[in-house]
């Protein structure tokens, strides 16, 4: 058994022999409940270096950033700045230490001017606001970034890209030394990305260390000096860009542990239930087309923010599409509201079960009957308690919801059991088409297997299912076909036998399929062969050797 050769050659600590790193994360571990989000991760950031952080959804990137910026604290390990161990208990601490982060959704005060947005957090600017000086200085900061904005104008009118620029300017004005950019390009146009990169380049010249997170492979390879890959909360490799290739990066990112996954039987799907042609919604997704058959599970793969949930919301009428055709059993339909969708037999189980799926303080039974409440009312408008209870009991038994009573508040259940309640409430509406958005996110293994069994059972009874999931092994194991989206566009539809982790991820990241074909293995085969094995090292090494 060989280790990933690249990782062996370049252990992280020996990155640049001459200079000392500005910021070091040393053996950081962090767990939430039973899930290990980060395990023994180390990372060094150097002055004037653009360091890209790569990893699938859930690889631990966000947790690492949150620890660096003081939003969360590590369980073990330490953070060092200029070689000194530091404690970062809040975002203000991080700011003081010269560490700032820019997120996809900037934190802007729409009613304040651009200049004020830049300087509002400063405490040492005298007792009186000198607008002229502030605007001059704001202009100077923006000039350092080669950006021209009217600094006296309120921030309300700024585009997302401009708001990000303001955030960067804010960071610079605070003498930032480490700037973390979490998917800054996710919602920018090509032109805006160019401009952002010019800014990043000028920051680099000024000696700022930039940690750059992006799902766009070509951007990562264009801009970064160093690339670190995380997977499953663990450090995989840190390489200079010259020694990394997109294909290698993708191989290092995939290969999450797939053991204990449910294995589905192949079945012959029925007739076409739902047919979607060129479905689009301005600013969300474009030209999505697919057929969904009775008894079929269509997986929606892609990275977070690829527009998969938006397609689900459009099909459920929460945020309807503005163009395209939806046919249900051959009839063209318009879905303008959730009520309309439900009347057509479409159900959508949300990815955010705590905020959008469940009324946590209310009982399990009231949650289960909520969408079909009119059926549980008698003529006087009173709830038929007996019918409601027995329905809830049925689901409790069928889905094995673990609770002392169906009258217990839903919030008292574990994540997995809450998910079963969400699924129950939609099954009670007797849907023909069931859209499951991240059905197993944040639930434990046991419950996950049960949800998978349930999906299989529903499909075998003829239900048409769309399963949106960011869990790659799950998508591959559960789906008859896999639709891959990237940045609002449909990249590919794979049959199960053609779908491999590499191909799906490559499509999701906008890489061409060709340079990866050497490593394709049928997903089903993989799911069984790699059971319980330390697949990561093995398969990666195999891939690397073949290359």
């Amino acid at each position: 058994m060989t280790m990933d050769p690249a990782a062996q050659v370049q252990p992280p600590a020996t990155q640049q022999a001459g200079a000392a790193p500005i910021l070091e994360m040393v053996h950081i571990s962090k767990s939430f409940g039973g899930t290990q989000a980060l395990e023994d991760v180390s990372l060094q950031l150097y002055s004037g270096e653009i360091h890209a952080l790569l990893g699938e959804n859930g690889a631990g990137k966000s947790t690492l950033i949150k620890i660096m910026t003081g939003i969360q604290q590590q369980d073990s390990g330490e953070m060092r700045i200029d070689g000194q161990q530091v404690r970062v208990a809040s975002s203000q601490d991080a700011q003081r230490l010269g560490v700032a982060a820019i997120y996809q959704e900037p934190m802007i005060f729409p009613d304040l001017s651009v200049a004020e947005n830049i300087f509002i957090g400063h405490t040492n600017r005298g007792k009186i606001v000198d607008r002229r000086r502030m605007e001059r200085e704001a202009e100077a900061v923006l000039a350092r970034l080669d950006v021209n904005l009217d600094v006296g104008e309120p921030a309300r009118g700024l585009t997302l890209a401009e708001q990000q620029t303001v955030e960067i300017a804010k960071a610079i004005s605070l003498d930032v030394r480490v700037l973390i950019m979490d998917e800054p390009t996710a919602s920018l146009s090509a032109h805006e990305v160019r401009r952002l990169f010019r800014i990043v380049a000028s920051l680099k010249r000024q000696g700022v260390a930039v940690l750059f997170i992006s799902h766009r492979m070509e951007e990562v390879f264009e801009i970064s000096d160093t690339i670190t890959v995380l997977r499953d909360g663990r450090w995989i490799s840190t390489l200079p860009r010259a020694e990394m290739t997109p294909a290698l990066a993708i191989r290092q990112m995939v290969g999450r542990e797939v053991r204990e996954l449910f294995h589905r039987e192949q079945r012959e799907p029925g007739r076409v239930r739902l047919s979607v042609r060129d479905l689009s919604r301005e600013g969300r997704f474009r030209n999505v087309s697919f057929d969904l058959r009775a008894g079929e599970v269509l997986g929606f793969a892609g990275l977070v923010g690829a527009g998969r949930t938006d397609v689900g919301l459009a099909l459920f009428g929460v945020a309807p599409a503005d163009s395209g055709v939806i046919e249900l059993d051959g009839n063209a339909v318009t879905i303008g509201s959730p009520q309309a969708a439900m009347a057509m037999g479409i159900a959508y189980s949300t990815e955010d079960r705590r905020q959008l799926g469940l009324v946590l303080p209310l009982s399990i039974s009231s949650n289960i009957t909520l969408p079909s409440l009119p059926r549980f009312l008698n003529r006087a408008g009173l709830v038929k308690r007996y019918a409601e209870r027995s329905t809830a009991e049925e689901f409790r038994e069928r889905l094995r919801i673990r609770t002392p009573s169906v009258d217990a508040p839903t919030g008292s259940l574990s994540g997995g059991n809450q998910q079963k309640v969400v699924i129950s409430k939609w099954l009670e509406t007797n849907p023909q088409v069931l859209i499951l958005d991240e059905p197993t996110r944040g639930i434990d293994v046991g419950a996950k297997v049960e949800v998978h069994q349930l999906i299989d059972e529903l499909a075998s009874k003829g239900m048409a299912i769309i399963m949106i999931s960011s869990d790659m092994p799950e998508v591959l194991a559960m789906s008859d076909r896999v639709l891959v989206m990237r940045e609002g566009r449909q990249m590919a539809i794979f049959d199960q036998r053609d779908a491999t982790q590499e191909r799906v991820l490559a499509a999701a990241m906008g890489q061409s399929d060709g340079d990866l074909t050497a490593n394709s293995e049928p997903a089903a085969a993989r799911a069984t062969t790699v059971m319980d094995a330390e697949i990561s090292g093995d398969t990666l090494a195999a891939g690397a050797n073949r290359e």
């Binding site: 395990e39 542990e257 469940l358 969408p371 709830v383 434990d444």
Partner: protein, 344 residues
């Protein structure tokens, strides 16, 4: 058994019950025959209109909104009844007119909140000022009276034995409110929307319709209370029911309904109603004037939100301290795989 009792007492309703017993004991000790029917009816009769509006306000606040305009609506409805009657409209028609204005303005409040999407606080603040203004416009600075005897008799004398019409209506409405809030579809949706309107939307529930119904109900009940008050007092001024919204909202919050919506029970609110009636009575016995009682109610209002907040904060702090301690003691063993820890 003892522990069970203790737990029950520690709940909000338990605390209410305890307060109620104390106040009741005080009243009984100071007034002979306090618990006789006659006394109890007098007790209710003094605040009966508020008690009626409290029932509707409970729905409004549980659904996550607020209606500051109820007291002004009561005044407006009284003014409409009086002005229309004065202008020669038969009294039953005048009453119907007042009730329909209540429904109409309730719907207008609901429209701006549910459809336009403005905050109920701002919308009903406008109603609070505006409805009172309309009442002033109608009766100006006069006192309009001279209603037919049957009307004032209904307000002042027993209908069924010593029980007045208002009290009868109150008890019917209270039973209705319990049934609707806790056993009907509308009541269920009230809780759902108060807890999370997005969940309701994502479950295909019509949030707009439910909100409209609740505000309409609030307007109607307030108008009804205004008419009943007219009958009881026999005279209408523009300032009729002025300041009642304070009492009404206070009792609802005191009854354990969360100002942020989604939490509360009719039992708690009914208990709080009875408590406040007794409290006011006790204060009268103790020689405290009506104005000062209002101040004490104001204080209660603040405390009924402040105390649970502070308690929650203390609990959170304790909890965090425990959690911190737990983290310190529980370092995960190295090499633990991410999947296997959490039990089903």
């Amino acid at each position: 058994m003892a522990r069970d009792l203790l737990r029950r007492l520690r709940s909000w309703e338990g605390l209410l019950l305890l307060c109620l017993l104390v106040v009741l004991a005080y009243n009984i000790s100071r007034v002979p025959n306090f618990l006789t029917i006659g006394n109890q009816i007098n007790l209710f009769q003094l605040g009966i209109e508020k008690a009626i509006v409290i029932l509707a306000m409970t729905f409004v606040i549980i659904s996550g909104e607020i209606d500051l305009s109820v007291a002004s609506m009561m005044g407006l409805s009284a003014a409409i009844t009086a002005a229309a009657f004065e202008a020669g409209v038969p009294l039953p028609v005048a009453i119907l007119l007042a009730l329909s204005v209540g429904v109409g303005f309730g719907l207008i409040n609901g429209y701006f909140v549910a459809v336009v999407g403005l905050s109920s606080l701002a919308v009903t603040l406008a109603g609070y000022i505006g409805f009172r203004g309309l009442a002033r416009l109608l009766v100006q600075d006069r006192s309009v009276g001279d209603f037919p005897e049957w009307f004032t008799n209904l307000g002042q004398h027993g209908l069924i034995g010593p029980i007045t019409l208002s009290i009868a209506i109150y008890f019917i409405l209270a039973v209705l409110a319990i049934v609707v809030l806790h056993f009907s579809g509308l009541g269920r949706l009230t809780y759902v929307i108060g807890n999370s309107a997005p969940v309701a939307r994502f479950s295909g529930v019509s949030v707009v319709r439910t909100r409209l119904i609740i505000f309409m109900m609030s307007g109607l009940i307030a108008a009804l209370a205004g008419v009943l008050m007219t009958a009881r007092l026999g005279a209408v001024r523009a300032s009729t029911a002025e300041g009642f919204e304070l009492d009404i909202i206070t009792v609802v919050l005191l009854g354990g309904v969360s100002i942020f919506g989604g939490v509360g029970s009719m039992a708690g609110v009914l208990m709080a109603t009875y408590l406040v009636l007794n409290l006011r009575n006790g204060l009268v016995i103790a020689g405290v004037t009506g104005n000062t009682q209002t101040g004490i109610i104001g204080l209660l209002l603040i405390l009924s939100v402040l105390l649970p907040n502070l308690a929650a904060r203390v609990r959170e702090r304790l909890h965090r301290r425990q959690a911190d301690a737990a983290v310190r003691h529980h370092q995960p063993p190295p090499g633990d795989t991410p999947w296997v820890t959490e039990p089903g």
